[in-house]
Symmetry: C2
Subunit: 181 residues, 2 copies
DNA sequence: CTCGCTTATTCCTAATAGGAACACTAATCT
DNA sequence: AGATTAGTGTTCCTATTAGGAATAAGCGAG
């Protein structure tokens, strides 16, 4: 193989590993729906460039019907994905948290502005929680030990728990700010 | 002003807003020490290119002593930072979680490999928790309402709580996997 | 005084983000 | 049927971001 692929490539291989062949467009949609909770949903441009690279490397097979091309995992791609899972170090998560960044600089604008920002963020968290909740529900019934969606369900539950925790932390922060006044 | 600056620029302005003039190198160090918990620590190359842009735009002042240049917030820079805090939408956090990504694909490698990955991640979380804990401690005493490090302390506490929560979630997942066998 | 470490900056390359632009298809309304 | 709109699918463009190598000067320890 020589070089490791960018992680986005493995994420796409991962999405393809659940079965049916997908077009670039469909991959982007799946990423927007599920992957985006744990990983950035790659830009359209990137999905297509990665697919091309994966195809050149023989890791995916292209099924072209003239107007659109879908891709599926090749045996080689599946092997490479498994190798990557087993042999490479995950590394520590990277968080880009614009709310935390601004909270850090709260002194510049004072508690009222910060309070408002946090309150809005709680709303956003509730919305994301609901969206992920739907994904989670779509998996129930196929999530018992040994079943294919066991692991995706675990990740979804983890995400839900994360959102709930964030919400409660931020509500505490809001209370704190209120007491400051 | 015309265009908004990239967020990294505001992050750097933010680091400079705490007082003393810093060189690019020092900014990178501060970012590695604190900012990295809530935001990516920008690459060296980016720190310097941003500083140059900020300087051209008059948002930072350069204090050059020949061999090294330190930068401090200008009045204009301070105003722009505050404007950004007040007027721009934070947006939702972006998480790149390699452990969650791999857990999603757990079916490819089975519970033993996943279990091992999660266990290692718990260790990494403990280390990060400890590192952030030190930062937090360095703020105690200067973190009461109205004091300059009030907000940074809040963010640090939030981060600590986040790490603790992640740890407990993952320990539950490990138990789950053990029961599966 | 020189070896190795920290400070400081520059440079290079690839990956990533974010959309606009374009085209073709399918469904809906009149 | 013809026009309109929404959805599907792909390509292209630009800037930002990631990551680290290369360079060089200063500084403390032996």
């Amino acid at each position: 193989m020589g070089q490791e692929l960018p992680i986005t490539a493995y994420a796409l291989l991962g999405l393809l590993s659940f079965g049916d062949p997908l077009t670039g467009y469909e991959l982007k949609q799946r990423a927007d729906r599920t992957l985006r909770f744990y990983w950035v949903s790659p830009a359209m441009s990137q999905v297509y460039t990665e697919l091309e690279r994966l195809h050149r490397a023989g890791l995916v097979m292209a099924h072209g019907d003239g107007r659109s091309t879908s891709y599926s995992l090749s045996r080689k791609g599946s092997a490479e994905l498994t190798r990557w899972m087993k042999e490479s170090e995950p590394g520590f998560p990277v968080l880009k948290h614009p709310v935390a960044l601004r909270l850090l600089l709260g002194a510049l604008v004072g508690p009222e502005t910060i309070r408002e920002m946090l309150t809005r963020h709680v709303k956003a968290l509730e919305e994301e929680h609901a969206a992920l909740g739907e994904v989670r529900e779509s998996l129930t019934g196929r999530d018992r030990p040994g079943e294919p969606y066991r692991y995706p369900a675990m990740v979804a539950d983890w995400g839900l728990s994360y959102f709930a925790h964030e919400k409660s932390v931020i509500e505490e922060l809001v209370e704190m700010l209120d007491n400051d006044r």
